[in-house]
């Protein structure tokens, strides 16, 4: 199952970065996000999966599409991909990066805390999917939680101001 969704995610990402039309790219990104949500579920992060679909795929990507439509970028005449040099550079750097990350991943990342296997799913069963994070969120990380709302407020105001035709 995991591999299926992984394949979808990676394929979607590939499509996203290579499509000519911005709308197509956006839609492929949505597909990728959905696959990721599925993977989240498989990783015992059901609440996060839901959030992913609602917030990311549902709100952010919709916003993207709005802007694309607004700017009338629907049909693309010439490709906006870079020339051969650019592609080479992108390919090279991408490969290097993935190699490095892979090596990093392989290296021992043993941390001090190690939950017993499957413990997260047990917590989910006991307290519900949201309960997994509720403790941390509303106790330890309460302040960041509140700050985030202020951040969102600032973002709203900023977006409105920046997008005005006339200040």
């Amino acid at each position: 199952m995991f591999w299926l969704f992984a394949a979808f995610a990676i394929g979607g990402a590939l499509m996203c970065i290579t499509r000519r039309s911005p709308v197509a790219s956006a839609l492929w990104l949505v597909e990728t996000l959905f696959s990721l949500a599925a993977i989240f579920v498989l990783l015992d992060a059901q609440f996060i999966a839901a959030l992913q679909v609602m917030v990311y795929a549902g709100a952010i990507m919709v916003l993207f599409l709005f802007v694309i439509m607004l700017l009338n970028l629907g049909r693309e005449r010439a490709t906006d991909m870079r020339g051969w040099t650019g592609r080479l550079v992108a390919l090279a750097l991408g490969l290097v990066l993935v190699t490095e990350l892979w090596v990093l991943v392989r290296s021992p990342l043993a941390g001090p805390i190690q939950l017993p296997a499957g413990s997260l799913s047990r917590v989910a069963q006991e307290r519900g999917v949201v309960g997994v994070i509720s403790d941390s969120l509303f106790r330890t990380y309460l302040v960041p939680f509140e700050v985030t709302s202020i951040l969102l407020l600032a973002a709203i105001v900023g977006a409105v101001v920046l997008a005005k035709r006339r200040l």
Partner: protein, 662 residues
């Protein structure tokens, strides 16, 4: 050490007075160059005063001759670790003799210059330089250690350059000055190397310490001492114009005649002889070097005399004569007769200065004559002279006295001093045959001296006058301010011989005995060599005979009537041309040394090293490199987001790499 007499403690004044004269005249040359009376008063006054003080000092030395020299230390110059160099003067018998010669002859020449240079626009500058020269020369002879002496050594070289090129607007004169200075420099290199070696071996540069330590430190005839003395002698060949560094002296005649008299006859060129005499213990310990000194001296004596035979310029003849006589002096000190060398130095100062100054009178007269008639002939060419004894009787008489003294006619001074040297050379003959050869060279040189000197005098003063009909009316004797010093010098040339008469005569060898405390150290290495009385008398007679032979031979063979004035004279051919052209030595040096050096300087040092490497690579290259680095940096600031992103990612990769390593 004995107590220093009060008069001796005034020695510094002897040096300080000419220095003050230099400063004063220098200032006058800027502010009041036409204040002739003031300049003369200062210029001559300081010299006369200096001479007076020197006289007192010498009298004190004479009254209580010191066994050890009196050292007067004025100033700590270079305290450098174990080496303590002071500005110190040394007063002993040798420096006393040199003091007398230098201040005395200088004072007379200064007086003469008042007349000779009277109409020159650079009058103040002339006296300034002349005073400075005397100051440096005195530093040279009074120095108590090698560096102080070297200061004087260099200083007189500098003044020589300044004075030779006095009329610098004419390139020939400037070139002559440069030539003198550069050739001196080559010699100075030898002096410096010798100084370094001496310091390395003995740890000191003070005369007293070095000479005291020398017998213990150096191996007799060993390589170190030989090298040191040869290097010192190299300095002497430069300063005193011996082979191979003599070619600057004839060219130096481009300077005013009193300069030639003072610097290139009486004082500066004798510095080399003084050096050898002062460091006699070092030379005595290196028999090879001493032989070289004697040999070079003898060869130079003959060589220069042959050149003088065919020169037409009156000053050049006297110049080559100087080179030749210096050769005799070196012959003297080379065979260990240090006192004899100094003796000849002193007598030569008299008669050579006399010769030069008399020649100056002659030239002065001809200049006036040509000036009056508007012609531009060479006032120094013998072929334009002739029969001048009718017009310049005093000059003629005095120049004859000087000439005879130079030739060595008894009882004039030159006879005794030259004979002294030759006798001592001969006396060492039984040690090694080469000394007989040197003696023979000396004798040949004496004959040649007689010939060329007589030629000079006859062509100048006797026979028909070739100056020209109209000029003849303008020829007249020099003013008294010029003739007066000539008379004094003439007296010296006549009587100075009494100072060191040969052993067989009563009252003999006074100077040698007086200088004994100085020459003692060196003398102990010389084998006792005494000539038998008969041999001495024979040699005396021989010397006189050679002189007479030369004079009469030349008198007979010369035909002054057959000469034509310089403008119409035919070119020389054959051997005469070789002699006239000084054996083409200058041309040889030019090809061997001057041209390659000039080529090297132009092609390599200038074009490649200076322009290309230093300017191009180092200076401009650094600039260009900086600009290039800046350009590279600027390429990063494209303003393109894409570029920045790439750099971003690159940075991240590098960071991850670093993470990986740790």
């Amino acid at each position: 050490m004995n107590e220093i007499p009060p008069a001796v403690s005034w020695t510094w004044l002897v040096v300080a007075l000419p220095l003050a004269g230099f400063v004063a005249n220098g200032a006058l040359s800027f502010f009041a160059p036409h204040a002739k009376r003031a300049i003369s008063a200062v210029g001559v006054g300081v010299l006369v005063a200096s001479f007076a003080v020197a006289l007192l000092v010498v009298r004190a030395v004479g009254a209580a001759p010191p066994e050890e020299p009196w050292i007067l230390t004025y100033w700590s110059w270079m305290p450098a670790g174990s080496l303590q160099l002071n500005l110190a003067f040394q007063v002993d018998q040798l420096s006393a003799v040199m003091l007398m010669v230098v201040t005395g002859v200088s004072a007379l020449i200064h007086i003469y210059s008042v007349g000779y240079m009277g109409e020159d626009p650079g009058y103040a500058r002339y006296f300034a330089y002349l005073n400075l020269f005397v100051c440096f020369m005195l530093v040279l002879v009074l120095g108590a250690n090698f560096p102080v002496m070297f200061v004087g050594w260099e200083g007189v070289g500098l003044c020589s350059y300044l004075l030779i090129g006095f009329w610098y607007e004419d390139k020939v004169n400037a070139d002559a000055g440069k030539k003198a200075f550069i050739m001196n420099r080559i010699g100075d290199f030898g002096f410096l190397v010798a100084m370094f070696l001496i310091f390395q071996a003995t740890g000191s540069l003070t005369f007293r310490e070095v000479f005291a330590a020398a017998p213990a430190i150096f191996e007799l005839g060993g390589p170190t001492i030989t090298l040191i003395t040869l290097m010192l002698f190299l300095g002497c060949t430069g300063k005193s114009a011996q082979i191979p560094l003599y070619t600057w002296l004839p060219d130096a005649m481009a300077g005013p005649t009193p300069v030639s008299a003072l610097i290139h006859a009486a004082t500066m060129v004798t510095a080399g002889v003084y050096l050898v005499a002062r460091t006699n213990v070092l030379f005595a310990m290196a028999p090879v070097s001493s032989a070289v000194v004697a040999g070079v001296g003898a060869i130079t004596a003959v060589f220069a005399a042959t050149i003088a035979l065919k020169q037409w310029d009156i000053k050049k003849i006297i110049a080559y004569s100087t080179v030749s006589q210096l050769g005799y002096m070196f012959l003297g000190v080379g065979v260990g007769a240090y006192a004899s060398g100094i003796f000849h130095l002193a007598t030569h100062a008299f008669f050579k200065a006399l010769m030069f100054l008399s020649a100056g009178s002659v030239i002065h007269a001809l200049h006036h004559a040509y000036h009056a008639t508007g012609r531009h002939e060479d006032a120094q060419d013998l072929r334009n002279m002739g029969g001048l004894r009718r017009y310049l009787p005093w000059t003629a008489a005095l120049m004859w006295i000087g000439g005879l003294a130079n030739i060595g006619v008894p009882p004039l001074a030159g006879f005794f001093s030259k004979d002294d040297i030759l006798a001592r050379t001969f006396a060492r003959g039984h040690e090694a045959g080469i000394y007989y050869l040197f003696w023979a060279l000396g004798a040949v040189g004496a004959l040649l001296t007689a010939i060329y000197m007589t030629r000079l005098l006859v062509y100048t003063f006797h026979g028909p006058n070739r100056t020209g009909e109209r000029e003849a009316g303008h020829l007249h004797e020099a003013p008294w301010v010029m003739t007066g010093p000539l008379v004094v010098l003439g007296l010296g040339a006549v009587t100075a011989g009494a100072v060191n008469l040969p052993a067989v005569l009563p009252g003999a060898e006074w100077l040698a005995r007086w200088l004994e405390p100085v020459t003692l150290l060196g003398g102990q290495y010389l084998l006792e060599s005494h000539l038998g009385t008969a041999t001495e008398w024979t040699l005396l007679a021989l010397a006189a005979g050679i002189a007479a032979l030369g004079i009469f031979g030349a008198w007979r063979l010369l035909q002054p009537a057959a000469l034509k004035p310089a403008r119409e004279a035919p070119a020389e051919t054959g051997i005469q041309r070789v002699l006239l052209r000084k054996y083409y030595v200058d041309e040889l040096y030019d090809t061997l040394f001057v041209r390659p050096t000039a080529w090297l300087s132009d092609r390599v040092l200038w074009k490649i090293i200076d322009a290309f490497i230093i300017d191009g690579v180092a200076v401009n290259g650094v600039g260009r490199l900086a600009r290039f680095a800046g350009w590279v940096g600027s390429r990063l600031q494209t303003g393109q987001v894409g570029t920045y992103v790439v750099l971003f990612v690159l940075g991240t990769i590098v960071l991850l790499r670093a993470l990986l390593r740790s």
